[in-house]
């Protein structure tokens, strides 16, 4: 009985999707190898990290040789707007959609419609609760964990922490908070004495740092990526007496960590590579090729300090790139592009040479 209902349901689903696809199949290019159409929906434009993520998708698509075009819908929009974008991509006839969702569940309906139409949906960076999707991201819980461990170590196992989080309610922030508190709870001499949200906004972060950094009040600072202006603020507010800071792989933070070591600064770099987009593209192509891919693909971060990883950090700094550039240039096993190809940021359809 149970079995038969399942069969009926499956049959119905197949029938529905065939009906749905019937019209599209005539016009849309058949999803043959070397001819995939990839759609990207990104909920936040004009942000360096997201731009790099998109460039990584484009560059990797070009190099894969299997992608005909990458259609990017990248704009600052709300959940309804992003849902509309996902639907628009579906009507555009893409084979796979890579979504960096601005909301963990608000796009589920639109994603489900795409999945029902046989489109592979890969969520990147921010997880969603939509079923039948593949998730590719940096492991944010581990991010919080390794960052906390390194910070407490640099603080000598005691003291007060200025805890500058990201945006309240964002998936990455919640995950990092989980990992961070897990570790802090194990050290009774370490206290989070001030907790603020930067909303991942440099102006807010800078203002808060300037307001809160008072000599003697804190022995360590956690940032959720709004990092190097906190270090700059220390120069002024703490009169160049630096305390340890956990930051991300922002170009400028890496530079400061390298150069200010001589002044006693301990910068803890926990990379959060933006080129995770390239990994998402590889997963998308694998899925379209019919390969088996796990539902969740997490990249494990490591905490880097000048003391332990001098070479790594020295090579990460890219002088030609902007301060907020996410300075991780390759993900072994996922990406194949060179830095130059990444910076070029061309999709396969962008030029006659296929962008290569």
């Amino acid at each position: 009985m149970n079995l038969s209902t399942k069969h009926v349901k499956a049959g119905l689903a197949v029938a529905t999707s065939i009906t749905l696809m019937a019209g599209a199949a005539v016009f849309a290019a058949p999803a043959q190898a070397n001819n995939y159409k990839i759609g990207v929906s990104n909920s936040w434009a004009g942000n360096s990290w997201r731009e790099t993520m998109v460039c990584a998708i484009k560059a990797e698509a070009t190099l894969s040789g299997k992608v005909a075009s990458v259609t990017v819908l990248s704009r600052n929009t709300d959940a309804a707007g992003q849902s509309a974008d996902i639907r628009t991509l579906k009507t555009q006839g893409v084979n796979a959609i890579i979504v960096n969702s601005g909301d963990p569940s608000a796009n589920n309906a639109a994603i489900a419609e795409a999945v029902a139409a046989g489109i592979k949906v890969i969520t990147v960076d921010n997880s969603t609760t939509a079923p039948n999707t593949t998730f590719v991201a940096n492991d944010q819980v581990a991010y919080g964990r390794v960052g906390a461990k390194a910070l407490i170590k640099a603080m000598g196992g005691k003291g007060n922490i200025l805890y500058m989080r990201g945006a309240s309610g964002a998936g990455a922030d919640t995950d990092r908070d989980k990992g961070f508190r897990e570790v802090v709870a194990k050290y009774p001499k370490v206290k989070i004495t001030k907790e603020v949200f930067t909303n991942w906004d440099w102006a807010t972060g800078g203002t808060l740092a300037n307001q809160l950094l008072v000599p003697g009040k804190f022995q360590g600072v956690w940032t959720s990526g709004i990092d190097y202006n906190v270090v700059t603020a220390m120069g002024k507010k703490l009169k160049n007496k630096y305390i340890p800071v956990v930051g991300s792989d922002n170009n400028e933070f890496i530079r400061l960590s390298n150069t200010l070591t001589s002044k006693g600064f301990v910068g803890i770099v926990v990379p959060n590579p933006a080129i995770v987009g390239g990994a998402a593209l590889k997963v998308a192509v694998d899925l379209l090729d019919g390969k088996m891919v796990p539902a969740t693909n997490l990249l494990k971060p490591k905490a880097l300090t000048v003391k332990k990883n001098k070479k790594n950090l020295a090579s990460r700094y890219v002088p030609t790139q902007e301060a907020t550039f996410s300075s991780t240039l390759s993900l072994p096993g996922y990406t194949t592009f060179t830095p130059a190809q990444l910076f070029r940021c061309k999709a396969p359809q962008d030029s006659n040479d296929g962008g290569r």
Binding site: N76, A79, A80, T91, S105, A109
Partner: protein, 319 residues
């Protein structure tokens, strides 16, 4: 038909024409056009179209509501929080309650404006902060949910595009047309056109203002509920409410509502939302960065208002 009526009609005509041209253009770009695509169009504009209509009512009445986006966000958060894990009947009852809450909030804002005598823009600016704060209090993080049947009632089961279309048209039939014909409707145009003359004609200016803000709040409530129905979720962010507010003003103005008050209707703003939806998607099909659509949208709003202003100047000059 006199000059002004003709002009008002020609404006609507121009907007219908523009929406049609863009619509056909967009459809011609698609591999196929069917119910699903139609549904995508309607779902894409429904929340902002409702919000633009609410804004239009307030602007016609001589005000402006910079808190209308925040009202919608608050109702979005309230409904996604309390309608999660409810039965269909409960959801419907709650929906009615939240629409009333939206009206109440609108009425409260109207009351503050009427009693304090502070400019609309200042009061609504301040209340927009307040309401977003309350929304964040209700839903500290994005999330929540809603009864699936209720969601289907709002957005229709794929690929049924009729329910959202009904939600777009129903408010015009059930709220706008009776309003336009009622004494309140005439009073709305009256206080927008000339507060003094309206007062001398026996209009209770303050009460009318409160009622109009309440109706605006009703539309904001509808918009928030529809958002919940479409996204099955809520997001309590200030930037969302600000963007929605600014878009609602752009939509109303593009739809032929004069910012000086007393002129316009609700069909224009609904169509304007459609136009604002088509522009980026058409560009997308040409592989153009959607950021360009921001430029075009902004420039279009400016030019439409400029054109309308010149038209008004010319008719006024003929007096």
């Amino acid at each position: 038909m006199n000059v002004i009526q003709l002009k008002r009609q020609s404006w609507n005509l121009a907007i219908i024409l523009l929406a049609l041209v863009l619509g056909i253009w967009r459809i011609s770009q698609l591999p196929q056009f069917g119910a699903y695509e139609a549904r995508t169009f309607v779902l894409g504009i429904l929340p902002i179209a409702l919000l633009s209509m609410g804004q239009a009512i307030i602007i016609i009445g001589g005000g402006i509501n910079l808190a209308i986006g925040a009202e919608a966000v608050l109702i979005n958060c309230l409904s996604a929080r309390y309608m999660q894990d409810t039965t269909f009947t409960e959801s419907v009852v709650l929906a009615i309650v939240f629409i009333l809450v939206g009206m109440l909030i609108g009425a409260l804002i109207g009351w503050i404006i009427a009693v304090s005598g502070i400019a609309d823009i200042v009061v609504t600016l301040a209340t927009s902060f307040l309401l977003v704060g309350v929304a964040m209090y209700v839903m500290p993080q994005p999330g929540g949910g809603v009864n699936q049947q209720f969601a289907d009632l709002v957005s229709g089961k794929v690929p049924n595009f009729i329910p959202p279309l009904i939600w777009l048209i129903l408010p015009i039939i059930l709220i706008w047309i009776p309003l336009y014909r009622s004494k309140l409707g005439i009073s709305m145009y009256a206080i927008g056109s000339s507060k003094e003359a309206a007062f001398l004609s026996g209009v209770n200016v303050k009460l009318t203002k409160i009622k109009l803000y309440a109706i605006g709040g009703l539309f904001a409530g509808l918009s928030g509920l529809v958002l919940t129905g479409i996204t099955l979720s809520s997001s309590p962010f200030a930037n969302i409410s600000n963007t929605a507010t600014l878009n609602s003003v752009a939509g109303a103005v593009l739809g032929g509502v004069a910012l000086s008050g007393g002129v316009g209707g609700l069909v224009g703003p609904a169509l304007a939302a459609l136009i604002l939806f088509f522009i980026p998607t058409i560009l997308l099909a040409y592989g153009i960065d959607p950021a360009y659509s921001q430029i075009i949208t902004g420039a279009l709003t400016i030019f439409v208002v400029l054109f309308g202003g010149l038209l008004r100047k010319r008719t006024a000059g003929k007096k």
